[in-house]
């Protein structure tokens, strides 16, 4: 399985076209990053503005190599009990109750406290063994027989401590559990980390990862992305739409529309049966691509101008 997966990753062009088949259009630098990270077995840290397809990249990777995808969503307060493993306390309790008689039997003829202790010690740590471990995403990823794609999403949302905790996994692909010892990955997972840069990540973490910065795509790339995701859209409209969004990104806004918003907008316009952009249509649907009232006001004022520019970029064929 893994061999099959790695065979698919031997060539940058193969990756590009393979991803394109899965409707993920990746730029040259993304394909190169996948190629290097997967072949050198290094985690890949992906940064970039929200909505440029960082998470989707990992999803597509999983589909491409045909491995399960295990996702760990980070948030403030995430700790190892939720990320790595936890003991099944209820099960432990239940078992002690059920096994009470058995334990009594074992201890039956021991008359002193000391000898009963010794008796108990002959049995290994029954209740702190693999059966009572509830694996969480990270441990699951390490135990996956054929390897997997592990996505640690929005690592910048987690606390500093958690970042430090990840270091062992990222560099050695192993974790240490006090009661069980060190668990090594059966197969090295493909590890992706994403960050929206809401805070600076520690140097130690960055050092262990290859770093890929995904910016907003250029017009031509964005056109291909929209085409792949919303195949039924008319060519002229799609070009206008992309040109408009690219124009909006030039403005001084609180939050620029990203690729996911372009795609949403394209879908919205398809629902409205639009065949080309015009001022009114843009004004009515602006809230799809802009998420702040102030931004909408700014763009609204310049909507006509932007539409004109967009039309220039992609003239509607004689309607």
């Amino acid at each position: 399985m893994q061999n099959q997966a790695s065979a698919k990753l031997q060539d940058i062009d193969a990756i590009t076209s393979g991803f394109a088949e899965l409707d993920y259009i990746c730029s040259r630098s993304i394909a190169t990053a996948l190629f290097i990270a997967s072949n050198l077995g290094k985690p890949l840290l992906i940064e970039g503005p929200a909505g440029v397809g960082k998470t989707e990249l990992a999803n597509t990777m999983a589909a491409y190599v045909g491995l399960p995808m295990i996702r760990l969503q980070c948030y403030e307060g995430l700790d190892e009990a939720k990320a790595l493993y936890e003991w099944r306390y209820a099960k432990q309790l239940l078992y002690t109750q059920i096994l009470r008689d058995k334990i009594g039997e074992v201890l039956g003829d021991a008359d002193t406290l000391k000898s009963s202790m010794a008796r108990l010690h002959q049995h290994s740590d029954l209740f702190f063994s693999e059966q009572f471990v509830a694996p969480r995403p990270l441990l699951k990823a390490l135990r996956e027989e054929d390897g997997c794609v592990l996505l640690i999403d929005e690592i910048d949302k987690a606390d500093h401590e958690f970042e430090a905790f990840l270091l062992e996994i990222l560099s050695e692909y192993q974790v240490s559990i006090p009661e069980l010892g060190t668990i090594k990955a059966k197969r090295r997972p493909f590890v992706f980390l994403t960050s929206n840069n809401s805070r600076e990540l520690s140097d130690a973490l960055k050092r262990r990862c290859l770093h890929l910065y995904v910016p907003f795509p250029e017009a031509s790339l964005e056109q291909r992305i929209v085409r792949a995701r919303v195949p039924e859209i008319a060519d002229a409209l799609m070009k206008q739409l992309v040109a408009f969004v690219q124009g909006v990104r030039e403005l001084d806004l609180k939050k620029h529309p990203s690729v996911s918003e372009t795609i949403d907008w394209a879908r919205a316009l398809m629902l409205l049966n639009a065949s080309e952009l015009d001022g009114d249509l843009v004004r009515e649907t602006l809230n799809v691509i802009l998420k702040f009232e102030e931004d909408i006001t700014v763009v609204d004022r310049q909507a006509l101008e932007l539409v004109r520019q967009a039309e220039k970029a992609a003239p509607v064929s004689a309607a």
């Binding site: 940058i12 040259r28 630098s29 190169t32 990053a33 290097i36 990270a37 072949n39 050198l40 290094k42 840290l45 940064e47 606390d159 500093h160 401590e161 805070r199 600076e200 520690s202 140097d203 960055k206 050092r207 262990r208 290859l210 770093h211 890929l212 910065y213 910016p215």
Partner: protein, 474 residues
């Protein structure tokens, strides 16, 4: 030739560090791995690959790309000329116009034959032999140029020149007689040609040294300049330094942010609150079933920075504000005010625009007016005094020169009473305090701390202390 490649890569890493990209040992190992894996043929791919291993922020990426292009164009110059291309022109070895048959000296022969490729190769070799990649300071240029020339055997060349010059007096050399070229038939011509060639050689060596210095010396040159900048007065920077300074401030601010953003996990829960536990458990017949813990209050620190933006103080204000806004992740509630003749709140400018644009806007609003501390403090009392509370740290930046108007230190007293603490940063050195129209000593009693701040070093220290006390209090 893996050895040579590694050497190139090691040099490249030096250049990358020089370009202000932080590279750890682990990352250089990654770079080696990436380079070995990708090979050196596809340069664009190599650039992307190495960029991923070495540059870890968008800014670093830009600097890395520039360094990569600079370095590999330099290396390409050297190697392209080394292998082939030039060598095929060997046929036109007479291009130098000189026949070198009579010349014993190797270097002189190369120069006369005008084989540029061979010459460059020899120079590269000499440069490697004298460790040109160790060059750090611009003062070493002459030294390295001389060393390279000597390594290439310039002494032999000099001897050859002397010999050639001596020959006409000796009445024409039999060695030169065989020359077919027009120029070589004149015995004096060769000496002259050698002289020109020597000058050209010197020029070449000098250029090579210059180029390498700009690659390898970048780091030390920058360090020198930065340590100078840190100590120089913020009031009188020239324009070129301003840009550099802003970058430096940004970097220091980032470091401070990293230093202070690591907050030790404070336990929300304190000791057992016995009183509340007992009260709560009356219902359980006094058996303490539900425990009640003392809680620690988390208070959010606030910082209000009030900056004088007149004259020389403005320069310091700009950098102070740059610091404070760079630290907004840690100091989560920063508000800024600017005044000269009157006072306005400027928080909005800084939140919406980058520091430079914001400073310009602020200057347009309140700059270029005679300072009036009394009026400005009044403005503050009118508009914002009610926002000052026990968690607020008020930072005032100003020289306290109020053009002989009423300083209204009573308002500062009011501010001090309401706030947690008042810090006064004064760009003037202490001996000048209280001289002329300076009212600084009227304000001093109400400040928890008054400090001289006029260099980046001062500023860094003050901001560091500020963040520490503010955080500790929270």
């Amino acid at each position: 030739m893996p050895g040579e490649i590694d050497h190139t890569l090691v040099n490249f890493l030096k250049v990358v560090r020089g370009a202000d990209v932080r590279v750890s040992v682990a990352e250089s190992l990654d770079a080696v791995e990436v380079a070995n894996f990708l090979g050196w043929e596809d340069r664009e791919r190599l650039k992307q690959g190495l960029g991923m291993a070495l540059a870890k922020t968008p800014e670093e990426k830009d600097r890395f790309d520039a360094a990569f292009d600079a370095f590999f164009s330099a290396v390409a110059d050297a190697t392209d000329d080394e292998d082939g291309e030039g060598r095929e022109e060997d046929a036109d070895s007479g291009i130098g116009g000189m026949n070198a048959d009579g010349v014993e000296d190797e270097l002189a022969r190369m120069l006369l034959e005008g084989d540029q490729a061979e010459l460059l190769a020899a120079m590269e070799e000499a440069a490697a032999a004298v460790n040109l990649d160790q060059i750090r300071f611009f003062t070493q240029r002459g030294l390295y140029t001389q060393r390279i020339l000597r390594q290439m055997g310039v002494e032999g060349l000099d001897a050859a020149i002397r010999e050639a010059q001596a020959q006409p007096q000796a009445g024409g050399g039999d060695g030169q007689g065989q020359g077919q070229g027009g120029g070589a038939s004149q015995p004096g011509g060769q000496a002259e040609a050698l002289e020109t060639a020597r000058a050209r050689l010197f020029e070449m060596a000098r250029n090579l040294v210059e180029r390498r210095l700009s690659l390898y010396g970048a780091e030390t040159t920058r360090d020198l300049r930065e340590s100078r900048l840190r100590r120089s007065r913020l009031g009188n920077l020239d324009r070129r330094d301003q840009v550099e300074m802003r970058r430096l401030v940004a970097r220091i601010a980032k470091r401070l942010a990293a230093l202070h953003s690591r907050k030790p996990k404070r336990r929300n829960r304190g000791m057992l609150d016995l009183r509340r536990t007992m009260r709560r458990n009356y219902a359980n017949d006094g058996i303490m079933f539900d425990l009640e813990w003392k809680r620690k209050k988390v208070s959010k620190p606030k910082v209000m920075a009030i900056c004088d933006v007149s004259g020389s103080v403005a320069a310091v204000a700009r950098f102070l504000l740059q610091f404070l806004y760079a630290l907004h992740d840690i100091l989560n509630d920063v508000r800024s005010f600017a005044f000269s003749g009157k006072l306005i709140e400027t928080s909005d400018f800084f939140e919406r625009h980058d520091v430079d644009a914001a400073v310009d806007m602020v200057m347009n609003e309140v700059g270029y007016m005679p300072t009036d501390y009394g009026k400005s403090l009044e403005d503050f009392r009118e508009g914002w005094l009610e926002d000052v509370d026990k968690r607020t740290t008020v930072v005032i930046l100003g020289d306290g020169r109020s053009n002989n108007t009423d300083p209204r230190s009573d308002i500062l007293k009011e501010i001090a009473e309401r706030s947690k603490r008042v810090l006064w940063l004064n760009p003037e050195p202490p001996p000048l305090w209280g001289t002329g129209d300076s009212e600084i000593y009227r304000y001093k009693p109400y400040c928890n701390l008054m400090r001289e701040v006029n260099t980046l070093q001062h500023l860094e220290r003050v901001v560091n202390d500020l963040v520490r006390v503010v955080k500790a209090a929270s």
